[in-house]
């Protein structure tokens, strides 16, 4: 019984939140890694792109709510998601035309593009705060739990409850669908294959008649979609705040680099590595250990390795360890 309780407590506080957070990071890191693979720079504006996409979704959602439309037990934001994605796509295509294309034509060094993306980051950050304000927005509606802790306890008779939030369920399901679709696109379709060819060897791809403008455009469209989905899922699960999204840049980059920049599979693995190490190291293990150990050995403290405020430090240390021992990431990424 104690053993079961320990497993349930572990799932409730570590596994379920870890899987949800990992999926969100993976989707964010996929966007970063695609831009790195095809446009060949680290996009510092990615966190703010996510914020912009989420903001468009929230605005459309408010419109729907004012019309009285809802999605039953699911959050209304999911209905608004396609429209928000369109808004974000329009924005990214516009920034590419107005900003990035000039430097691409000039064949500017990657680090210049990084600085340019810093400028875009400022503009987007200002834009988002300007439109929706810097405050916190909670926009999750509908049913709160798939299974609540109390129902679980009544159902199983265990001391520990297992709560799964609707948003966590949605996050995992959406992430699986999106990743499957993305890999199908990259591996099976003509456009996807030309994108991979362009990422592997630009000159050869150009020689074989691949249209670079089209590849770049499709990349931005996909990135806009991924960023919006990642942003909305994170926002549904926690809450939307422009500054938090800007700060997500660090774990997202850590995920992409740990997995190997430019490698989509690596981005997903990296997302889960970072998410689980953050949750594992900042979780207070007292409860789980209490069930697992004989009474005489029960820990007196919280057995928390680091306080939750240091979660950035965790992703950073993992990043450093990987960089020092395997500089191209867990899966082989590219080095420009």
């Amino acid at each position: 019984m104690d053993f079961l309780n320990a497993i349930v407590a572990l799932s409730n506080f570590v596994l379920v939140p870890g899987i949800a957070y990992g999926s969100q990071l993976a989707l964010g890191a996929l966007g970063v890694t695609l831009i790195y693979g095809i446009l060949r720079f680290s996009n510092f504006a990615h966190g703010d792109t996510m914020a912009f996409g989420t903001m468009s979704v929230i605005l459309v959602m408010w419109l729907f709510q004012s019309w009285g439309i809802s999605f039953g037990p699911l959050p209304t934001a999911l209905l608004a998601l396609p429209f928000g994605m369109l808004g974000c796509m329009a924005l990214l295509l516009a920034t590419d035309k107005m900003v990035y294309q000039f430097y691409r034509d000039q064949k500017a060094k990657p680090v210049i593009l990084v600085i340019v993306s810093m400028g875009v980051m400022f503009v987007l950050n200002g834009l988002v705060r300007f439109i929706i304000g810097p405050g916190e927005q909670r926009f999750s509606d509908g049913e709160r739990f798939i299974i609540s802790a109390r129902n679980f306890k009544e159902l199983t008779g265990l001391q520990e409850g297992l709560a799964i939030k609707t948003t966590q369920g949605i996050t995992v399901i959406t992430a699986v669908i999106v990743v499957a679709a993305l890999f199908w696109f990259l591996n099976r379709t003509r456009t996807g294959k030309s994108m991979r060819a362009y990422s592997d060897n630009e000159d050869l791809a150009l020689l074989s008649g691949i249209n670079p403008d089209r590849v770049v455009m499709v990349t931005w469209l996909i990135v806009a979609g991924l960023a919006t989905i990642a942003g909305v899922l994170y926002g549904l699960d926690k809450s939307f705040k422009p500054f938090t999204y800007f700060q997500l840049l660090l774990p997202i980059f850590a995920s992409a680099i740990v997995g190997g920049l430019g490698n989509p599979l690596g981005a997903i693995a990296g997302g889960f590595v970072i998410a689980f190490s953050e949750v594992f190291i900042t979780y207070a293990w007292k409860k789980v250990l209490g069930y697992m150990m004989p009474e005489s050995l029960e820990p007196s403290g919280l057995v928390q390795l680091l306080s939750t405020d240091y979660k950035f430090a965790v992703s950073f240390v993992i990043l450093l360890i990987v960089l020092l021992f395997k500089p191209t990431g867990l899966f082989k990424g590219k080095a420009v």
Binding site: F41, S42, V99, F102, P110, V111, I112, V114, I115, V116, M118, G119, V120, M121, F122, V123, L124, N125, G126, L127, R129, F130, I131, G133, P134, F246, Q247, L249, L250, F253, A254, I257, L261, L305, S307, D309, Y310, F312, A313, S315, F316, L319, L320, L323, L324, P327, A335, V336
Partner: protein
């Protein structure tokens, strides 16, 4: 010759902007802009050393600035009474030394032992065992220190010898400036040792991360500098306004000039700050100029322009990069200590990456990377706009929304949002400069 004419003209524009603020708004706000402009210029010089001289992409400026601020508290505040009793601060220091020794031992083991399972086990054992022992020593010390008068203190305090009368030892803050530089240099050494051999993007992410970690430590380790409870009432190297107003000699002189003693005292204090900051800025600027034109500076530029060729000529690129990374970060640390001195308080929550990292980058790029005078100019101009965009944005919004009816939701939203024009404008300036004048206002040679 045209280059130096351009420089003079640009700095004249800055002078006109600041003097114009003095005439149109008030001399107090003009001096405030000048003082922060001086500090921003020092920060921009530090980043320009790294980026303009060596092409190192450091986006952790905020962390080094914050470390400078921490140094001010650790040097200029008096030691907290009781905290240095046995089992308190000394225990924390012992724990920190022990932690550092553990890491050092692990590195040594990793280097000396042959690769294999034995090495992995010893490394892991050392790290886990070291961490447990470290927490056992550390936690007790922290609990002891933080329990002493937590409402007003609860930290270890600093080195100020004055005790109760610590405000009389204002010159301690001046000592804190170089100490801030040393602290930042130490952090830069650790980062540089691990991340400098890697690619430029990785250095960027590493510095971004370390800045967040430094901030997290400053917010959460209450024993160090009270965390988010803030440290207020730092001593200052200049007289207090109240003392000046009560000084008959000062009041007499001001009234002889026909001025108001209250305004005059605050202007006098700000002028003294401006003088101190200007001395530091000029000192660092001269050193940076000398360095740029020395053989060392030429070598740096050679490395920046072609690392492979420089390496083929026998230059140790990684070591030189480490050197300049440490120097640039130290300059940012000094600027951070100066800023905390000017504020008179340490508030960790005010350190925002957009304001302290990316804004400094805008200064360097706009001013002209690779040119020290350009960085200084960028520091002044961008700081001026950073301060003035808000009232200008508000004015613009009021004009734009004038046709809208009073009390309309859109109008109040637009006017409330005017404050966020800042970030937008800074991004726009950066993008425009990069596009149309990529070498900045004062291009380097």
């Amino acid at each position: 010759m045209t280059g130096s004419m351009r420089t003079i003209a640009m700095f004249a524009v800055v002078a006109i902007l600041i003097i114009g603020t003095g005439i149109l708004q008030s001399w107090n706000s003009a001096l405030l802009i000048l003082n922060m402009g001086l500090i921003s210029a020092v920060m921009a010089l530090g980043v320009n050393l790294q980026w303009g001289f060596a092409g190192l992409f450091n986006v952790g400026v905020m962390g080094f600035v914050a470390l400078g601020g921490l140094a001010t508290v650790l040097v200029a505040m008096p030691p907290a009474p009781g905290a240095w009793a046995p089992g308190g601060a000394w225990r924390i220091i012992a724990a920190l030394i022990m932690g550092a020794a553990t890491i050092w031992a692990t590195i040594m083991v990793h280097r000396r032992m042959a690769k294999g399972r034995a090495r992995a086990l010893v490394t892991l054992g050392l790290l886990v065992g070291g961490f447990i022992v470290y927490r056992m020593i550390f936690d007790g010390g922290v609990a002891f220190v933080e329990s002493i008068n937590p409402a007003a203190s609860g930290n270890i305090g600093g080195l100020n010898p004055g005790g109760e009368n610590y405000r009389d030892y204002g010159w301690m803050t001046l000592i804190a400036w170089p100490v801030g530089g040393l602290l930042a240099a130490g952090a830069a050494w650790i980062i540089g040792k691990t991340a400098l051999g890697l690619r430029s993007d990785y250095l960027a992410i590493a510095t971004l991360g370390i800045a967040e970690i430094i901030l997290a430590v400053m917010k959460n380790e209450d024993w160090l500098a009270r965390g988010v409870k803030n440290v207020i009432g730092l001593p200052r190297p200049v007289p207090y306004e109240v003392d000046l107003q009560n000084d008959p000699g000062f009041v007499e002189r001001v009234q002889a000039w026909g001025g108001d003693p209250v305004t005059a005292s605050s202007i006098y204090v700000k002028l003294e700050y401006a003088f101190l900051f200007a001395v530091v800025l000029v000192l660092i600027l001269i050193l940076a100029q000398l360095a740029l034109n020395s053989p060392w500076g030429r070598m740096m530029r050679a490395i920046r322009d072609n690392e492979v060729a420089a390496e083929a000529m026998g230059k140790d690129v990684t070591a030189r990069h480490l050197q300049i990374f440490i120097l640039g970060s130290a300059v940012c640390g000094v600027a951070g200590a100066m800023m905390t001195t000017l504020d008179g308080q340490l508030v960790p929550t005010t350190y925002q990456p957009l304001r302290f990292t990316f804004l400094v980058w805008v200064m360097v790029i706009v001013g002209g990377s690779g040119n020290n005078l350009g960085a200084v100019l960028g520091g002044f101009i961008i700081w001026f706009f950073w301060v003035q965009v808000e009232p200008l944005g508000l004015l613009l919004m009021e004009v734009v929304t004038a046709p809208l009816s009073e009390g309309s939701a859109l109008k109040s939203h637009l006017i409330d949002s005017a404050a966020h024009m800042r970030l937008f404008t800074m991004g726009l300036i950066l993008l425009l400069v990069l596009r149309f004048s990529p070498r900045g206002l004062l291009p380097g040679k």
